[in-house]
């Protein structure tokens, strides 16, 4: 500006010209997400804690590994695979379970806690829209936690298999059987598939519903989230002797086993064909409902005052 004296005098007349009037939406979203990670440290501490516990437990069974390897030839192929990959399945399940539980409690508190501690007025004193805030909060259970669970599981698995390999090498045994039986790449791909299909897409309306309740409830969001569906289910059972609503909910929470083509959600992702899943109306209806819930939550945040 020093080369253009005119520009200086013009801009000093209008101070608004100097500073940009707005920031890109991605930047507002990024910082909104950062603040969620600052506030709810359990988002990464809980899965990390479970990973730590699994690693610690696996160190104790390392001593048994050479014995397992020696008795392996006496087992059938399926049992061989199970004996070796079992700890890895447990690790993945625990970390994913931790992420799921954190997702539920985070979603229930995300739009309620800020009103309870009255900091909502501070957040609203800054130029961030309610929709940006709600989308940033929704991305925690929908994107951040599944990806975090995957990354932490992958690292845990690698540490476990490296430790196991070291023990086997020290005992003079081959590591090739271990690596092929565990099939780390394949199981991690399966896990990623499961996280994306079930936790990100299939559970989207579930998390959106919890966020909506958290934006709406003046107290006890957990009870407000749980009791009405329970009441509807009981009402239907008594009045019509049917359980369509309960079945519908269980199907959603259970990972949509009929769509996934498996009874156990953990394995469903690995077994089902992507096409079946992507063409199921339940998925798309669920995503639409999730979008509506989030829009309503953003609307509610605008009206809601501190409690």
């Amino acid at each position: 500006m020093s080369t253009e004296p005119n520009a200086v005098s013009e801009s000093s007349l209008n101070s608004q010209a100097i500073t940009p009037a707005s920031l890109p939406a991605t930047r507002l979203f990024y910082w909104s997400l950062r603040r969620e990670l600052w506030e709810y440290r359990s988002i990464y501490l809980a899965p990390l804690g479970f990973a730590g516990v699994t690693l610690l437990a696996s160190v104790f069974v390392l001593a048994l590994l050479p014995h397992i390897m020696r008795t392996l030839p006496s087992l059938g192929p399926a049992q061989q695979h199970k004996a070796l990959s079992h700890p890895y399945d447990i690790a993945a399940g625990l970390i994913m379970g931790a992420a799921f539980i954190v997702s539920i409690f985070y979603s229930l508190d995300a739009l309620y806690g800020e009103r309870r501690e009255r900091s909502i007025l501070f957040w609203k004193s800054l130029p961030v829209s309610d929709l940006t805030t709600v989308l940033a909060k929704a991305s925690v259970p929908l994107v951040i936690l599944p990806l975090l669970a995957f990354a932490i599981t992958a690292v845990t698995d690698f540490v476990m298999i490296l430790l196991s390999s070291l023990v086997l090498l020290a005992s003079g045994l081959s590591v090739a059987t271990l690596w092929t039986q565990v099939g780390l790449g394949h199981s991690l791909l399966g896990l990623l598939h499961h996280l994306v299909t079930v936790h990100m897409l299939w559970y989207a309306p579930l998390y959106a519903y919890l966020l909506l309740v958290s934006a709406w409830a003046r107290r006890a969001p957990f009870l407000w989230a749980v009791l009405p569906p329970l009441a509807i289910g009981v009402f239907e059972k008594i009045a019509f002797h049917s359980s369509h609503f309960a079945d519908f909910l269980l199907n959603r929470v259970g990972g949509g086993s009929d769509v996934m083509g498996a009874d156990f959600p953990m394995q469903s992702g690995m077994r089902s064909a992507p096409w079946n899943f992507l063409s199921s109306p339940g998925l798309w209806l669920g995503l639409m409902v999730a979008a509506i819930f989030l829009l309503v939550a953003a609307r509610l945040r605008r009206y809601r005052e501190p409690i």
């Binding site: 500073t19 009037a21 707005s22 930047r27 950062r34 009255r118 961030v128 829209s129």
Partner: protein, 307 residues
């Protein structure tokens, strides 16, 4: 330039009327004090101005509709409220990072400069700071934002005299200039008497007095009269009368009201010491008129107090 313009502003909570047709106009470069008893509608008026609550009637803040455009408005408007607490889990450094991240007009170096004058540590969490320090932190954040309107709702509630004095000194010396506008509500009117440029009393959702401080100083006079001259003073139709240290204090409206007795300053000087009343005295006088409306009021009626 007009910063705030309200016409017929109304807001009701159920059957309680918080704002009952408020007309208000605040020009650039003013410091307006909005004074009123608890529940008079001050905070509701401020919340409407900040886009935190819905209202009926016409309201423009910096040319925008606050309810519809809260997030855009907050680029140019800042606020500190006693109830709008900074999140307790947040670290000072995180607060700086966050505001720098989302606010286009935030000057981080400036905020750091303000904080350097305090005992606040960057690593401290808000919950570890004293109430005075939290206000200092909030003020440092807000003063580093190049905003056009600053709204303060009981900003110094619960702070000791030193913090309060420092708060208004900083505002005047380091922040306020003729291109900025400040609206403040407080019960500690003695703190702001020399800070304000304009004064407004609000009672039961209505503006009952509105004047500039220049007008206040020429229009309202307070005379301390010895008991023997009290009758003479009473004959001049004072707004309000009360007893202190064996003298009667009379407050006169010296301006052009409908009951204006056109009292001469000289005339008053003959009765005793003439001085500008405090805002608190005028407040009691104006509210005293309305004490019949308000159960439990301690204001003394003008005529009855003499005996």
């Amino acid at each position: 330039m007009t910063v705030i313009e309200a016409r017929g502003l109304r807001k009701a909570f159920g059957t309680t009327i918080a704002l009952d047709g408020v007309n208000l106009r605040v020009d650039e470069g003013r410091i307006l004090g909005l004074i009123g008893p608890n529940g008079a509608g001050k905070s509701t008026a401020l919340n409407a101005i900040l886009g935190l609550t819905q209202y009926q009637g016409e309201l423009r803040v910096l040319g925008r509709d606050p309810w519809a455009e809260r997030d855009q408005l907050m680029r140019d408007v800042c606020f500190i409220a006693d109830v709008a607490v900074l999140p307790r889990w947040m670290r000072v450094s995180q607060a700086l990072d966050y505001v720098a991240g989302v606010h286009p007009r935030f000057d981080r170096a400036k905020a750091e400069g303000f904080l350097a004058k305090t005992d606040i540590q960057r690593k401290s969490k808000v919950r570890e700071l004293s109430k005075g320090m939290v206000t200092q932190l909030h003020l440092a954040l807000v003063m580093a934002i190049d905003a056009r309107l600053l709204v303060l709702d009981e900003p110094t509630l619960g702070l000791d005299i030193l913090f309060r004095k420092q708060f208004y000194d900083s505002l005047l010396n380091d922040y306020f200039d003729r291109s900025r506008t400040i609206v403040v509500t407080t019960h500690q009117v003695e703190d702001v008497q020399n800070v304000l440029t304009d004064l407004m009393f609000i009672y039961r959702g209505r503006i009952v007095l509105s004047c500039s401080m220049e007008e206040f100083e020429t229009r309202y006079l307070e005379v301390a009269v010895k008991p023997e001259q009290a009758a003479a003073a009473r004959a001049l139709q004072p707004m309000h009368e009360w007893q202190t240290l064996g003298r009667s204090i009379f407050l006169f409206d010296h301006g052009a009201g409908k009951n204006d007795p056109k009292i001469d300053r000289q005339q008053l000087a003959a009765l005793g010491d003439v001085r500008t009343p405090s805002i608190a005295d005028l407040f009691v006088a104006v509210m005293g008129d309305k004490q019949g409306d308000r159960p439990g009021s301690t204001a003394v009626p003008a005529q009855g107090a003499a005996q």
